[in-house]
Symmetry: C2
DNA sequence: CGACTGATTGACGGGATTCAACAACCGTGG
DNA sequence: CCACGGTTGTTGAATCCCGTCAATCAGTCG
């Protein structure tokens, strides 16, 4: 029953091994399933949040907008994530959560979640760890934007996304759907669209990647890793992929 | 008794109101107090952590170093913080924690902390919230580095630091000790030392700030806020300072 | 006093931005 | 089926913010 929640449960279980009773308690929690469109706003900045969202399919992103209209993407969420956990626990959203692609979400009532957390400490630990891994990723993005050039920044994002998908069991080969437009890549990397465009061409010409619409194929994983100084340590994935490992192995 | 732990307890209590029993349980937890030097490394990248650190006095920072020697500072910690909570809960450090100034820390055994967390859920919530506020701050730094120019980035840091000190009860007037050297400011803002130096001169010449050694005096708070598009919302401080408020009011 | 760290300055170069088009691609509807 | 409008991707030229290199100055401490 409730197999639709499988991606979430599987992720929680990766973060902290759950006992059958934990899983049962989680699955018994009331929730509403909702189909959402690409571009749909799930949580808006400044909103008081009463629900907690689990992402079942599709991709989402959190971003902030400055007064002068500039935008920064803070994180990208993949199926299995709780993209607004921060807002939910702190009770106040300070960035906007929006879908990158059509998808499906599960809505939980915060009161139910709070009860679950006290009754099943393992689940609280799992969720806490999820927020910590998120912190870790944001920190890595900060390093990315602060200390790498355009090639490195974009390469790093491509690596990270591949490995995250892989940890979540959503990537088999070396090609995947990369749900960001060039403008969104720009807003995630602190660059401009124009420069992202040129840098992507650069990477293609160098034979490192191939792109087709929203799909990316990694041709030379080693080089991509080298260009971006990528090491998956910070993702705290269970399978402990070593640097230099290819995502398709 | 154990008044030395006051800064930590007070911060926890701000994040989540604690009952006397919570405070008592916290204070009864065994801990070791340690004086630390400026520059001392508390946790190194890649280390498995068995202790949990509370910062009692002085300032610390977390940073990552890339292969080519470039460095990015991820966060600055002030008294009352648990600067390595992430590493402690995830069990593995992926950045380096180092003192910015001489100070004093409290060392707790992770096993004791884990026990406390299950016995006193309010404390777990408080600590969880602390990690969430940290995430929030790192996200704001990301926006800072990704989407603001040098003036904005440095101004933003000055604002943030002032408000954080204020929330922690460590700032009365409009002047404070800013524990970062220009090189460290550069590593926090994704700039170079040279450019930080020129930008600081710029801010001084414009009559926005005054600096003397490691001390900063904010002359024109309004302008500093405007330059950096600063809004303290993301700090989730208890006193809900509105934008435009001056730190000395 | 020397040695060291941190702050400052100048000249020069380059990676990234800006502005302003244009092309390709998409789903939609006549 | 193709015309059409909107989004996304692509290109070129000029500009600039910031980086690089290298040297000097100022303060601190043993």
């Amino acid at each position: 029953m409730r197999e639709i929640l499988a991606p979430i449960l599987s992720k929680l279980n990766q973060l902290k091994p759950l006992e059958p009773a934990d899983k049962e308690a989680f699955l018994k929690m009331p929730c509403r399933i909702k189909e959402v469109d690409s571009g749909q706003v799930l949580i808006d900045e400044g909103i008081r949040t009463v629900n907690c969202i689990g992402l079942l399919s599709g991709f989402a992103y959190s971003h902030q907008i400055l007064q002068d209209g500039k935008r920064q993407i803070i994180s990208v969420h993949i199926p299995g994530d709780f993209p607004d956990l921060k807002s939910a626990i702190l009770g106040k959203a300070c960035d906007t959560l929006q879908m990158l692609s059509p998808g499906r979400i599960a809505l939980f009532n915060m009161a139910d979640v709070q009860r679950l957390l006290t009754e099943r400490p393992a689940i609280q630990t799992a969720l806490w760890r999820e927020t910590l891994v998120t912190t870790s990723i944001v920190g890595e993005w900060l390093t990315n934007v602060g200390r790498r050039d355009a090639r490195g920044r974009i390469s790093h994002h491509l690596c990270e996304f591949a490995v995250r998908l892989r940890f979540a069991g959503l990537l088999e080969g070396n090609a995947y759907e990369f749900p960001l437009t060039q403008e969104q890549i720009a807003d995630a990397t602190g660059l401009t669209v124009v420069h992202v465009n040129r840098t992507l061409q650069d990477l293609r010409r160098a034979g490192v990647i191939r792109t087709k619409r929203r799909a990316v194929q990694i041709v030379d994983w080693q080089r991509l890793v080298q260009l971006s100084d990528f090491s998956p340590r910070y993702l705290h994935g269970k399978s402990e992929m070593r640097q230099g490992d290819r995502p398709d192995q």
